[in-house]
Point group: C2
Chain length 261, copies 2
C-alpha cells in the first residue's frame, strides 16, 4: 500500500452546533488538525425552531420521525444554508479553505429514497455512493469540505440523510487513497459502560466487547447505529475510529473511546 497521507473526518452533532461558544472553540481546534480533513455536521435545534415558527409539527409514524416535503425544505434551509455556511465562514476566518457541500453538489453523495416495507419515511435518503474521485480532487486542491447531511437521488430530489452515516461513508470512500481517521464527537466523553455514570468511559471497544455490551444493554437506543457505523467503517478500510467529545481534538489528555475490530 505504501505510505498514505493522513486524512481526518470529524463529525459533530447538535450539541456543538447549538452552542455558539463551543462551536467556535471546536472550529478553532479543527482548523489546527494536521493533514487533510473533512467536517460533517448534523442538524440541531434550529430546524425544530424554524419548523415550529412556520407552524410545522414533527410528523411521526410508529414513533419514527418522517421527513415530509415542508420538513425537507426546513432541513435544507437550516442544515445546508444557515448552519453549513456559518461554519464555512468561521473556518475561512481561521484560514481554512473550507467549502460547504451537500451530497447534491458535484453528485458527491448519491442516495436513494428509503424503501421501507411498512413505513414511508418521506424524503429520507440512504447513501448509495460517494463520488470519491471528485472529493479526492477537491481535497487535493487544499479544500476542506464541510458536509451537511443533505444528499440527493441524482434525479433532482434532495434527501435528508443521517449525518453519522455520511461521515462513515465519506471516511470509507477516502480510505483507498488516505490513511483515514474518523472521529465522532458527541455530548459524552466516549462510550459509557454505565449510561448513568459519565466517568465510566470505555477506552477501547472491539467487536467482542461490543457484542457483550449489547447483551448487557450497556449500549442501547441511539448508540447502536453509531457503533454500527464505526465497525462498518473499520471493516471497509478506515484506519482509526474514535468516539468522544469535541475537546479530544485539542486536549492530549482527553479520555475517549477507540473502536477496534
Amino acid at each position: 500500500m505504501g505510505n498514505k497521507a493522513p486524512l481526518t473526518v470529524v463529525k459533530i452533532g447538535g450539541n456543538i452546533i447549538d452552542n455558539p461558544i463551543e462551536l467556535v472553540k471546536f472550529l478553532t481546534d479543527f482548523s489546527k488538525v494536521d493533514g487533510y480533513k473533512i467536517l460533517v455536521h448534523g442538524g440541531g435545534k434550529l430546524a425544530t425552531k424554524m419548523a415550529e415558527s412556520i407552524g410545522l409539527s414533527p410528523q411521526l409514524i410508529d414513533g419514527r420521525r418522517i421527513t415530509d416535503a415542508p420538513m425537507l425544505d426546513v432541513a435544507v434551509m437550516t442544515y445546508a444554508g444557515a448552519i453549513n455556511k456559518n461554519c464555512v465562514a468561521q473556518l475561512q476566518a481561521l484560514k481554512c479553505t473550507a467549502i460547504g457541500f451537500t451530497g447534491a453538489d458535484g453528485n458527491l453523495i448519491l442516495s436513494e429514497k428509503r424503501n421501507h416495507p411498512t413505513i414511508d419515511f418521506g424524503f429520507v435518503g440512504d447513501v448509495k455512493k460517494v463520488n470519491s474521485e471528485l472529493l479526492f480532487s477537491l481535497v487535493s486542491l487544499g479544500i476542506i469540505p464541510v458536509f451537511s447531511a443533505i444528499t440527493h437521488d441524482n434525479k433532482g430530489q434532495l434527501l435528508n440523510t443521517n449525518a453519522d452515516t455520511i461521515a462513515s461513508e465519506i471516511a470509507i470512500s477516502m480510505s483507498s487513497t488516505f490513511e483515514v481517521s474518523l472521529i465522532y464527537c458527541f455530548e459524552k466523553q466516549g462510550v459509557l459502560a454505565n449510561s448513568e455514570d459519565e466517568n465510566s468511559v470505555i477506552q477501547q471497544i472491539n467487536a467482542l466487547d461490543y457484542a457483550e455490551l449489547l447483551e448487557n444493554k450497556a449500549i442501547h437506543s441511539g448508540m447502536i447505529p453509531k457503533m454500527d457505523n464505526c465497525f462498518y467503517a473499520l471493516n471497509k478500510g478506515v484506519e482509526k475510529v474514535i468516539i468522544g467529545n469535541q475537546t479530544l481534538l485539542s486536549n492530549r489528555n482527553s479520555i475517549f473511546t477507540t473502536i477496534k475490530l
Copy 2:
C-alpha cells in the same frame, strides 16, 4: 492573448426562481450551453415568505431595505440553502457537475460590510475581490459553479450582496483566462426604449446611447445599477454582455439587448 476558451456567466432573478416550470426550462437550456459556465441566482419570494411566516417585517430606512441579523439568517437559509441546493440538484439530474457556492466557500467572493455615511444597511456586503485562482481551478475540474448572492468578510460574517454585481465581478475575474459572455436574464426581453411598451426592445446600446436613454429617463430606477454593472464588466475585460429574458439561451430568434462600449 491567443485563443481563450469561452465561458458564459448567466444571472437569473426572482421571476425565474419563483416559477418552478420556468426554472426547469431555464436550467435545461442552461445545461446545454456550450463551454465553461457559471450560474448566479438572486432571491425570490421565498425569503419574503419565510420572513413573514416567522414574523419578521422588512426593515426600511429612508425607503431603502436594511438587512438586519434575522433577515440575514433568512437570506442565507433561502438563497444559499433552499434555492441554491434545489438548482444544484436539478442541474445534476441534467448531467451537469454543478456545485453551489456562497462567497464564503473557499473565500470565493470577499466583500466588506457597506459603509454608508448616513444609512446603516446592516449585513450588506460590497464585493472586494473574487478568488479567481480557486474559481479557475474549480471550473477547470469541469465543475459548474452555482452562486447564491451571499458573501463574507473573511472575519466570520456572512453578508447579503447584490446578485447582479456578483455576476459582473465573477465575469470580470474570469476574463483574463476565458472569453467571457455575461448574460443577465430578467422579466423583460431586453432594455426597453419605452418601459410601457414590451415591444420596444433596443437591440444594441453603447455608452453614448446609454447617456441619452438616461437623459430621456427611458432608463430609470432599478435598471440603472444593472446597466452600470454591464458597462463596468465590459470596461474590465468581459467580451460580451447581454440583457434579455431566459428564453434567449434556447431560442436563436430571441430578441435581446447587447450592451457595447
